[in-house]
């Protein structure tokens, strides 16, 4: 398993950037749910859309688009592929 050079969560991805899921720091029902939706460690995800308020955020996962609350996304740690900091844009 790759270790992330910077501790990033799915909530930090900007639109268009992709990442690989490293770990789900969630418990119980929500963890099970997210695993069932195909987000398991090692899965590639791409941020495709954000709502006007920035929450929820939609991701492309295994050919489907899934939107999640920022609150939950913060607990999904990722390893970015082409990390572009939002501030630098």
């Amino acid at each position: 398993m790759e270790t992330s050079p910077v501790s990033l969560s799915l909530a930090d991805l900007s639109i268009g950037s992709a990442a690989r899921i490293v770990s789900l720091e969630l418990g119980g029902l929500l963890r099970r749910r997210i695993l069932d939706l195909g987000m398991v460690p090692g899965t590639q995800v791409r941020c495709v859309r954000k709502s006007p308020s920035g929450d929820p955020i939609a991701f492309q996962v295994r050919g489907c688009i899934i939107a999640l609350r920022t609150e939950d996304l913060k607990n999904i740690k990722v390893f970015p592929f082409n990390y572009v900091r939002e501030a630098a844009r």
Partner: protein, 252 residues
């Protein structure tokens, strides 16, 4: 095997009334995979809708026949999984596990196959009487997705049928596959997921302990895995079921 009369009582527990000669098929699938279209194409207008006993979740049953056999198709709620706690998933799981369907039809979305396979693998852990239906083939063609059905069938070791239910494609083949599975004319041994060595060792130990449960319809490996999960909702359903079965044994 559970005697015919008990099987009947069990189905009634789920609100399913069938004649003894009718075969019961459970219809499972993720939400939005065209499950209801498959249901409508197979059963036409011979449907009965209501609720699951005690739950405000719709329950639709329909009838169709193939090769002189009469089938009752039970539409289960659309779910991504059988392991979470939502009421819909609980109904789908309890019916597949304890409702004794003669076959379970799992409908998958051809345009999003990978995610859908999760449910198919979970059903395969519970029952060998399964038919996998890869639906929305017309959508997949539109998106230039081609699916190697023979490879999928070989990999899963269960019958796989491609359909485009909206245009009626593959429905005859689907009926034939269901007939074969439900009448047990071609018993399958679905591929089982192998877990990490630690989990497998624990499953082995639990299976040995669980051998006291004289209930062949309940898959011991699946039961051991659920005990390891420690999911209270599943454990409650299992003990309800075992109580019911042992209740009958005593009265019989």
């Amino acid at each position: 095997m559970i005697e015919g009369i008990n099987k009947q009582v069990f189905r009634e527990y789920f609100g399913i009334r069938v004649k003894p000669e009718q075969l019961v098929v459970a219809l499972a699938g993720n939400p939005n995979v065209g499950k209801s279209t498959v249901f409508n194409v197979l059963t036409g207008l011979r449907q009965h809708t209501g609720n699951w006993p005690g739950k405000t979740v719709d329950n639709a049953q329909g009838v169709f026949s193939h090769r002189n056999a009469s089938f009752v198709l039970v539409d289960l709620p659309g779910t991504y999984s059988l392991l979470s706690h939502t009421i819909e998933e609980q109904i789908a799981r309890d019916f597949i596990c304890f409702g004794h369907p003669d076959a379970t039809l799992v409908v998958l979305d051809a345009t999003c196959l990978e995610r859908n396979l999760n449910l198919a693998l979970q059903v395969m852990e519970i029952t060998p009487n399964i038919v996998v239906c890869v639906n929305l083939m017309d959508e997949a063609r539109k998106k230039k997705i081609s699916i190697d059905l023979a490879a999928l069938e070989a990999e899963l070791q269960v019958p796989v049928v491609a359909t485009a239910a909206r245009i009626g494609e593959g429905i005859q083949e689907l009926k034939e596959a269901l007939w074969k599975v439900a009448t047990q004319s071609a018993p399958a041994t679905p591929k089982q997921v192998t877990y990490s060595p630690e989990v497998e060792r624990a499953v082995q130990e639990l299976c040995a302990i669980l051998s006291f449960i004289a209930e062949p319809a309940l898959n011991k490996r699946w039961l051991a895995l659920r005990l390891l999960d420690g999911n209270p909702s599943i454990l409650a359903s299992i003990s309800d079921y075992l109580d019911l079965v042992s209740g009958w044994r005593e009265t019989a």
